[in-house]
């Protein structure tokens, strides 16, 4: 009886080990990888687009100079145009703002007379801007010397080129079409800004 009992127990051993075998277990450890990408906008220096320059000298640093602002015979404004491109990127929905400091080309010398009957004292011009799928226009009418700006919403991250086309129309002035322009140095500052909405 004793031996039988032992053999009986042995016969059950394999069954008893089954739960133990089920304990074979894999072990998995998860390690998160984290980071962030802050809001970034960049705007490189301007470059003239080839073949898009009419009556402009070219770009020097941040300055774009008109070759011959007036017709030497009539003293009326001569047409001029230029297209400038800026490599740019904004990695989030944003706005682009173009701002004219003077609302036209105005005398840079503050001592210059601004009330000379029969003469124009400022020159209007247009700026057209393209950025990604968005575009806008800012017209500087030169009627009042003041800031003027245009804001364009851009609803997605954009990378590429900001294209700015500047144009002075023939005879444009704040004194009427083809009015003679008072002698002096005329200028304006255009500022392009990529920024949060």
């Amino acid at each position: 009886m004793a031996r039988s009992s032992i053999m009986f127990a042995l016969a059950f051993l394999p069954l008893c080990t089954m739960p133990a075998a089920a304990q074979e277990a894999a072990s998995a450890t998860g390690l998160p990888v984290t980071g962030s990408a802050p809001q970034v906008c960049t705007l490189a220096g301007g470059e003239l687009q080839a073949g898009q320059l009419v009556n402009f000298n070219g770009i020097s640093g941040d300055t774009l100079q008109v070759t011959q602002l007036l017709d030497q015979q009539t003293l009326a404004a001569r047409p001029a145009s230029a297209t400038v491109s800026f490599s740019a990127v904004c990695n989030y929905p944003h706005q682009i703002r173009i701002q004219s400091e003077n609302n036209g080309l105005w005398p840079t010398d503050g001592r210059q007379a601004t009330d000379a009957p029969g003469f124009a004292t400022a020159l209007p011009y247009d700026a057209n801007l393209t950025w990604g799928n968005s575009s806008g226009q800012l017209q500087m009418d030169a009627r009042i010397r003041s800031n003027r700006e245009e804001r364009i919403d851009v609803d997605q991250a954009t990378a590429g080129t900001v294209t700015l086309r500047l144009a002075i129309l023939a005879g444009a002035s704040n004194g009427g079409v083809n009015a003679p322009v008072l002698a002096g140095v005329y200028g304006d500052t255009l500022r392009i800004t990529l920024e949060p909405k």
Binding site: R3, E24, G30, T34, G35, S36, A37, V40, A159
Partner: protein, 184 residues
């Protein structure tokens, strides 16, 4: 009294009879059995709570992925397997968590990388999130082993190409998973 003594003596004989039968020797075998199940334990992480924190992913002057991205190694200390085993490493790309739409043209919302787990096998297990196939992700060890596993990540690349920039997002997240599996 005498009668009483007699019965007492008789009873003593009857009871003692089985005791005389034990005088023959006998033996019995008892099996003492046990087993050690095949178990693997991944150990505990010692570095920075087990998080690969890459910080800021982009060069803020260009918007492109930083070329110097790195994170300290993570060590799974006290790892062991009581039998032969395999180690497997898997990973998912580091993906923007808030920006879930398709990235605009010129942008990506994901960063690929390669994760390696070294110290368990001669050849570290390695997994690249940019690869469709990762044959080196599983490595076998023929003996039981106990020791630390060092996990590293590197070879970062913007998903879709290096010419893409990452969309802004305060939370990018991916995972590395190291699995020890006992093998019979």
């Amino acid at each position: 009294m005498n009668r009483l003594k007699f019965f007492a003596a008789l009873a003593g004989v009857v009871i003692s009879a089985p005791a005389q039968a034990q005088s023959a020797s006998d033996s019995a075998d008892f099996a003492v059995v046990g087993n050690v199940p095949a178990i693997c334990v991944g150990g505990s992480v010692t570095e920075a709570g087990g998080i690969f924190d890459l910080g800021i992913l982009v060069d803020t002057t260009t918007g492109f992925l930083r070329s110097d991205l790195s994170a300290p190694s993570q060590v799974l200390a006290g790892s062991f397997c009581s039998s032969r085993s395999s180690i497997a490493v898997a990973a998912t790309p580091v993906v923007a968590q808030t920006f879930t739409a398709t990235a605009p043209t010129g942008f990506s919302r994901s960063v690929d990388f390669t994760a390696t787990a070294a110290g368990w096998t001669t050849i570290p297990a390695s997994f690249s999130t940019a690869s469709a196939s990762n044959p080196a992700a599983i490595q076998q060890r023929t003996t039981a082993f106990s020791g630390p596993i060092t996990v590293n990540i590197g070879d970062f690349a913007t998903t879709g190409g290096t010419g893409l920039r990452l969309v802004a997002d305060t939370s990018y997240r991916g995972t590395v998973t190291v699995t020890l599996t006992p093998e019979s």
